[in-house]
């Protein structure tokens, strides 16, 4: 599954803010960490604020804070803020030949499974997987090599 750039930015922002729930983090910090454009991220953060998942704290030391329920907000909730997903986003099946309907039926089955997974993965679940990945020596080595430019 390939997600749009804005969606990925939104997911990065939510993960970063939900990881540090007791802190306010600036857009510049998030943009720098994930190497994304600050302008692009600002738009994405506005969408997250409108969805009441993130709040903006003004003033010195201000920034953004995750304010959703991480146990209940799912991957699908975030993705749908930025793009259409699932069978509803697809054109209606062709009615003039059986082959089109057959393909549509099978593709629909694959979409249904993907949607079920997106609905089932909460932010808390993602953070747990993230923590586990951080402890994985193989992942540590790859991230370490990337950070040192190797």
């Amino acid at each position: 599954m390939k997600l749009q750039k804005a969606t990925m930015c939104g997911l990065y922002a939510v993960l970063e803010l939900a990881t540090h729930r007791d802190q306010q983090i600036s857009a510049a910090e998030i943009a720098s960490k994930y190497e994304i454009s600050l302008n692009h991220l600002a738009k994405v953060l506005r969408t997250l604020v409108r969805a009441r998942l993130v709040e903006s704290v003004r003033g010195a030391g201000g920034g953004y804070r995750f304010c959703g329920n991480p146990k209940r907000v799912t991957l699908l909730d975030i993705i749908q803020l930025f793009e259409e997903v699932g069978p509803d986003a697809e054109p209606a099946p062709p009615v003039d030949h059986v082959e089109g309907r057959t393909l549509h039926k099978v593709l629909r089955e694959i979409d249904d499974i993907a949607l079920a997974s997106l609905r089932a993965v909460s932010i808390t679940t993602l953070l747990k997987i993230n923590e586990k990945q951080k402890r994985d020596p193989e992942v540590k080595a790859v991230v370490g090599r990337a950070a040192s430019g190797g």
Binding site: A51, R52, L53, C67, G68, N69, K71, R72, V73, T74, D77, Q80, L81, D112, I113, A116, S117, R119, A120, V121, S122, T124, T125, K128, I129, K132
Partner: protein, 159 residues
């Protein structure tokens, strides 16, 4: 995304005690299951309890959660070996928590207690099956670290 559940927070419930189910618990289990599924399966639960009670095994457990003497949830599972070409592993085949106390770690405590039994019996994996439209239960198991396994359930309408 308008539901307040997306922003509401919950606290883990205190005073939760996990113990093996007793015969007197069966009516509660039937009632909780009926509330969740809309079907009364009195015979099924009685037979399952009797089966577990008569043939207790190392990797088999029917547990209930109690809060201040009040039953609030149950879980059942057992180790099954080599079905569908899979290795020996623990299966969770029933889990339910009183709707009034959900999102308070009761299900997690029940699941962990069952997994401890599975681990003690020497298995390294736990599996379950969930309706893919059951977002709540699917999200719950995902939050416990469960991911899609190597088996795909297939079915066919019989002609």
């Amino acid at each position: 995304m308008t539901s307040s559940i997306k922003t509401a927070q919950a606290m883990p419930a205190a005073d939760i005690k996990i113990r093996s189910a007793a015969f007197e618990d069966v009516p509660f289990i039937v009632m909780l299951d009926e509330r969740a599924t809309g079907h009364s399966k009195c015979c099924y639960w009685r037979e399952l309890f009797a089966h577990f009670a008569q043939t207790p095994g190392e990797g088999r457990a029917f547990l209930v959660a109690e809060q201040q003497g009040r039953l609030v949830g149950f879980i059942a599972g057992e180790i099954r070996a080599f079905e569908f070409g899979a290795e020996r592993c623990g299966w969770v085949f029933a889990l339910n928590v009183d709707q009034d106390i959900r999102v308070n770690n009761v299900g997690t405590r029940l699941f962990e207690a069952l997994c401890e039994r599975f681990s003690s019996a020497g298995v390294e994996k736990v599996r379950t099956m969930v309706d893919r439209d059951n977002d709540l239960v699917l999200a719950f198991f995902r939050s416990l670290g469960m991911m899609t396994g190597p088996l795909i359930q297939l079915e066919k309408e019989l002609d």
